[in-house]
């Protein structure tokens, strides 16, 4: 299976090949989980929504047609819609703290865990989660997934230039929110 091209794996998966879908799952589960985790801010909902993303993908994979939009972009769009529903439902229900301290492992170097850094991280996450969904998506895809503006554009349905412009507006807006707290160490 790893020798096959992704389009061949997708064709097999859409015919109901369980190994092919399993291979796609292995390839994307971590990325989708990361995206959902940073959009929801807690592990439980991130796991729940990630599971729903893959169930939905499994049941609708026959509807996926490669028209210049990669499979990953299709998955991120499913995740984006489910996270949007989650935010809508959550606003109707009780409030849960956004910056729950995650009981989760980091890939590579973990962020600094000193009291100052935890507080700073929580403040910054809080500010990010107050941004519009598009801006949150952009920051997550850029800093967590290390995607280029062109790749982000494919997922967000925007041009590369529009993504670049949105990125700069987002940084300026965050900079204004943070104010004087942003200091060099």
């Amino acid at each position: 299976m790893p020798d096959l091209d992704e389009s061949e794996i997708l064709a097999k998966a859409s015919q109901g090949d369980r190994d092919a879908f399993g291979f796609l799952y292995e390839r994307y589960v971590e990325r989708i989980f990361n995206y959902v985790y940073y959009r929801t801010g807690n592990v439980h909902d991130a796991e729940d929504i990630t599971a729903r993303v893959f169930y939905r993908a499994l049941h609708h994979i026959h509807n996926y047609h490669d028209r210049g939009v990669p499979f990953s972009a299709w998955l991120y769009r499913i995740a984006h819609n489910l996270v949007a529903n989650w935010h809508r439902d959550r606003s109707r229900k009780q409030e849960i703290p956004l910056t729950e301290v995650p009981t989760i492992k980091y890939k590579g170097d973990a962020p600094e865990q000193s009291v100052v850094h935890i507080e700073e991280r929580e403040n910054l996450l809080q500010l990010i989660q107050e941004l519009t969904p598009d801006r949150q998506n952009l920051l997550i895809l850029k800093f967590i997934e290390h995607m280029s503006n062109a790749e982000i554009g494919q997922i967000m349905g925007r041009s590369e230039g529009a993504v670049k412009s949105l990125y700069h507006r987002t940084l300026h807006s965050l900079r204004e929110e943070i104010g004087d707290e942003l200091t060099e160490e």
């Binding site: 492992k105 590579g108 940084l171």
Partner: protein, 96 residues
């Protein structure tokens, strides 16, 4: 350096600093292995293997063909019964 250039440079420095902060704070996380494994199992149980869907297609076509053939046989038998009844009815009327 003019005051406008200084302002632009300061703004760039601040944004660069913010990017560094974001880079340091937004780190990829690893989902729990138990979650990843159990979801994989649930998905693979839900997924039908390729031969099942192919079998379902063949099964559907066979059932459809059998249904059409049965319908044709029933209609033919009813028609023959009706014709026989009509013929025997005419014969009995003619004899009288």
């Amino acid at each position: 350096m003019s005051s406008k250039e200084q302002l632009v440079n300061t703004s760039k420095d601040h944004l660069g600093l913010l990017e560094t902060k974001l880079n340091g704070l937004l780190k990829p996380v690893i989902p729990r292995p138990e979650f990843v494994n159990s979801l994989r199992q649930r998905i693979q149980i839900t997924t039908q293997p390729a031969w099942v869907s192919r079998f379902n297609n063949i099964q559907f076509i066979l059932i459809l063909v059998a249904g059409v053939l049965s319908g044709v046989i029933v209609v033919t038998m009813l028609a023959r019964l009706l014709v026989n009844n009509l013929v025997s009815g005419k014969k009995s009327t003619g004899l009288m």
